[in-house]
Amino acid sequence: MMDALSASFAAQDLPCFHCGLPVPPGSTWSVRVADSTRAMCCPGCEAIARTIVDNGLADYYLSRDGYSANGAKTVLVPEELQLYDAPEVIRKYTTGCDAPASESASRDALFCVDGIRCGACVWLIERRLATVAGIETFNLNVATGKLHVRWNGDSCKPSDILLALREVGYLAYPFDAAIHDVHLQRAGKALFRQLFIAGLSMMQVMMYAVPVYLATDGTLEADMETLMRWASLLLTIPAVLYSAQPFFAGAWRDLRHRILGMDVPVALGIGAAFGGSVIATLSGSGDVYFDSVTMFIFLLLCSRYLEFLARKNASSALDKLQSALPAAATRLPMYPANRDPETVPATRLLEGDVLLVKPGEAIPADSVVLEGRTEIDLSLLTGESKPQARQPGDMLEGGAINASQPVVVRVTRAAVDSTLSRLVKLIERAGQQKPALSMWADKVAAWFVAALLLLALLVFCAWQWIDLARAWPIAIAVLVVSCPCALSLATPSALAAATDRLLRQGVLLLQPHVLETLHRTTHMVFDKTGTLTGGKPALRDVAILGTADRTVCLQIANALEASSAHPLAHALIEAACQESAHASTMFADKVKSMAGKGIEGRIDAARYRIGSAAYVEEITGIPLHDTPADDATSVYLGSEQGWLARFDIADQVRDDALEVIRHVQRLGKQVILLSGDGQGITTSIARELGIASAYGECLPEDKLRFVQELQGKGAIVAMVGDGINDAAVLRAADVSFAMGSGAALAQTHADAVLLAGRLSAVVDATRAASQTMAVIRQNLAWASLYNAIAIPAAAVGWLNPWLSGIGMSLSSAVVVVNALRLRRIRQPGVVVTSASDADALPHSVRASVSARIGA
């Protein structure tokens, strides 16, 4: 790094000085650091490096031992950060502001900080925070990435703190301690303590046990042996009473629910061995097994701790997603005078506010429709799967999703009371399901345990006949050596590890069955727009069909599409904004959109339609003589007077689409392309990507019917889509993926969300699915083999209790460690995207994503 500092500035062949990514040719971003000019790859890195230097913190570059995180994602968005300053939002994640005169009080909050890589980062963050006025104290926990700050409400706002961190290149989110993993953290701390106590106790008890084992007859006095036994007893007490708590609690919980979980034989084994040893110590005759008890507890806690670490990693990535920006709402403060929108946090909505809710968005608060007819999707709230029609005057439930038309609504109840409480319920519901495979394993384990208890009893009775003295230790050995844990751990630990790894690759699994089903999939259906293609289509050409000129046509299109969330609408709006220097003065009212067809609206008393040729023809009444380009989507514009224009909108195929299709085909799965776009463009894209079956002009019902027919023939269908029109088919498919950049409606109906918006994440998911299934099979095979050998061996008396303890703990560890292999991403060259990609998502997505994740 020092060499890099002293090296002279050579324009384009050096990587970005800040983040180490290649500098694109022709870029001019640079910052003077330590007396020489350093090239930067993007304005984000440039801004961060400049702030660091300007604050006199250039030493950071001297002491860091790796490149910094790329700055592009932390590009400053002060308006968004100000959402955190709203009193209602602050209340959610801070303490110390409950008192009425709260403004001047000092508050404290926890923030998640992303991107800490080395000691220099810690130094930089602490230096920068020390210069923020109003911060009283702060404490950065590097291991967990949590920053605890106490600040003065008068002179400092949360956004100042977040902005200060962003300026030096770190993303931070408020961490809502009330909902999130406090429970998990506390459990982890307790487990760590229990592990420590058990280890300490085991080591010390072993010190007393070894001389007894080694002693030949007569070398150890009886008094000494009694003393050692009493000492062992005393030291085993903390291990049994404190460290073994999780096993006793688990066994008690299982028995109360009348099920036989894996904790039951464990608790019985510990209890029997300890009880027997205590009796032997008190009476002064018989064998003691204190060493076996402590070792068993310690080793078992070790494998528990491993499992806990795997789970914690998975949840810490989820935390970062959950702590993303508060859900936003689009408010129309001047309504009905004009419709200038502003973005406000959903928690700040008050009774009487007027909002615009676009199709695909969640309704931020309970409200009543003022304008527009729509259908809303209540499936997440009530389970009602049929969309419900709503017209002016009807109630809209907060948390439901607007499924078809943009509507203007008036809030009837402050959001705090309704939506949020419902969202919390949603989170709980989403987190409660267990995959079928896990449930199966649990059921098998319960039978296994029942059989085991019976066997232990039989063995005990049998040995009463053969050799009375050995009956007790052998029964204990049978209880301890068996490993229902391996059976019970095999599936959940593999699934947890795979879920965690996929999250780091940008795939959020919402339903528990995804990996299982994906592995069995025979057909994979792709949507085109926004899925195989970039989803950011751009206007390529305008063909004038009537008398109006290009600018007028674009302005009309802009007015009609203004409230649509469809990607084609974005392309038109963008083109209109670019072409006319001053803002458009046209407004459309009575806007009505038909899914898959187009939009109708009234501008200056004339009715216009924009959309498919057939839809527009209904209004123009004149047949169309036009040959659209077959590699672009044609959107037609017409009024009652006749045809106006044809917009050719072309969309780029995603860079990774070809690779994804090839991969899926290599796996022997059928690839099908279903698109709402014209047959011509669909076929041309399919040809480009080597897809044999492609069907264009599919309405949502057609897609649904197509998939259901496939399923009727016994196919297991995976679906990848992004739009509102895909929602139904996403739900119908056996397993479905929604693009992270797609509509909230699509995401709530999908089984998994591709957060980073990379299509190749589908490949990651299929790869993870097959690896997971392989690991589960290995684990189950190991568990069966181990139990088949060890239990008979213990029953005939070949194993003593302490050997059994080691065997059982090792078996659990093998299973967990094998599962943890899944967390490693073996594919070289695949960009591992971190959870900070959450920041690249639009608000609505993040809100709906946060709503779906179980804690």
């Binding site: 130094w123 000494m224 005393l234």
Partner: protein, 65 residues
């Protein structure tokens, strides 16, 4: 060998003392961040350390309950 009659009970006492010490350290937040202190100790100037708060883990657990 007679020394063992003293040493074995002493070792028991030492273990219990260790347990007590460990709980105290754990309660004070010693084990909350096992990464950061190793990084900070390598930094030359300690000016920010005086600015930073004492460990707040005990407060944190209170906050959440």
């Amino acid at each position: 060998m007679e020394a063992l009659y003293l040493l074995v009970p002493m070792s028991v006492i030492v273990v219990f003392f260790t347990i007590w010490l460990f709980f105290r350290a754990s309660d004070s937040g010693q084990f909350d961040d096992l990464v950061g202190p190793a990084m900070r100790v390598l930094q030359d100037d300690d000016s920010v350390q005086q600015h930073a708060a004492a460990p707040v883990s005990s407060k944190k657990t209170k906050r959440s309950s």
